[in-house]
Symmetry: C2
């Protein structure tokens, strides 16, 4: 299996960075090929802008998705985007490894999605969800956060954490066709004693050893919708 | 009323930019004072990193929220962050005006939240939701998107759009104490003929003229939770 880990934490000694290293070591020991995009270390540019397109389909008005499609077709995607697109297309499993900032990914990782999930490759027209460009691949969110487990759930303070991250799990990964595995969350990390952090890394290692048994999240199927994406009668 | 509009679109001729200008004109004509943070025009830096802190509480290990709190207390917040914090603290109404990228805000705006929603000012310890630092202020999301209205809803393809944006509406704006108004969504914008775009801007103008009648979204109340954020019996 080829694995791409996209890691986005500004502190190399962080627990999130330790999770990244644990994943590299564990997966490599299983015989998998692992590639890491360490976005802070790469000084990745997260800002989608006109500067991404050397040759414009419409130089007078920027529609980012249309220019992505044009650049993809013409082979003029910016080199930093092209490199990340190729890494994703080469992988069987994508792991997004990050600290939760504001119940979402850090801007650094959001910008990786904005710029790398290219129209015409990852999705396009009716090619979304179970017809998305990345179908047949798996994705796993591995996130650390300050909040405790009891703060999340149907009756809990913040509601469901998977619900907070639905824009990533369904709206980004599921949308482009990934089978999205149940996320791995490391709760309360900044406040844990060292022994509990070590135990959490062991849980993570065990989860990585049992990916085939890990449940996938339910996603919409286009079989239930017509050509204009309206629900089919009886579906 | 003092209004801050935070606008994040890379194309100055976009419909989103027209929404921003419409809001400035409409609200100013009503006698309000309007400030705009045009993040792309400002070349705002969306990347939270160690570079944000000239004087570190802990130079050996970056905990971003702790360094924010330290910088806030010591008066050493980075000037670009301080300027945005002050604009937010001066406003009665915050409008986030943006195109929806991947069922969320563009990375540019996510980074504004990551860097500007400073621990110790916007929130801290138990000061969240109805005890958040920004309570008494209102916030409104004004977003354009490609999807059509029928693609969103309980039985629709993508589910509820407010649900996709829960990390912003509840997890960011509600979390720091804003009364969050029902969002204004401009659907299907890239595909609309000019007349329908003009009609949409009129709807937007009308919405801005009736903000006091606009419903607010339900948010958690800390009255229903104990000191550890567990639900109170019977609450």
């Amino acid at each position: 299996m080829k694995v791409l880990i996209v890691h986005a934490h500004p502190e190399p000694q962080s627990f999130s960075a330790a999770m990244c290293r644990t994943a590299v070591g564990t997966l490599a020991a299983q015989g998998h090929t692992v590639t890491v995009s360490d976005l802070y270390a790469q000084r990745f540019n997260p800002v989608a802008s006109a500067a991404d397109f050397a040759e414009r389909r419409n130089p007078d008005y920027l529609n980012y998705a249309l220019e992505q499609r044009h650049a993809q077709e013409g082979g003029t995607l910016a080199p930093d985007i092209r490199a990340e697109v190729d890494k994703v297309l080469a992988c069987d499993l994508l792991i997004l490894n990050f600290p939760i900032y504001w119940f979402s990914v850090p801007a650094m990782l959001k910008g990786w999605i904005d710029r790398v999930f290219v129209s015409g490759v990852f999705y396009g027209g009716k090619r979304i969800y179970d017809r998305g460009g990345l179908r047949g691949r798996r994705a796993l969110v591995a996130a650390s956060l300050g909040g405790r487990e009891h703060m999340f759930g149907p009756q809990a303070l913040h509601g469901e954490l998977n619900g907070m991250l639905r824009h990533v799990l369904q709206g980004s990964l599921g949308y482009v066709g990934f089978d999205v595995l149940e996320p791995f969350y490391a709760h309360h990390v900044p406040y844990l004693p060292e022994a509990e952090r070590a135990a959490m890394l062991e849980h993570w290692r065990a989860a990585l050893g049992a990916l085939d048994a890990r449940p996938t999240l339910p996603m919409p199927s286009l079989d239930r919708f017509d050509d204009t994406f309206r629900p089919l009668a009886g579906a």
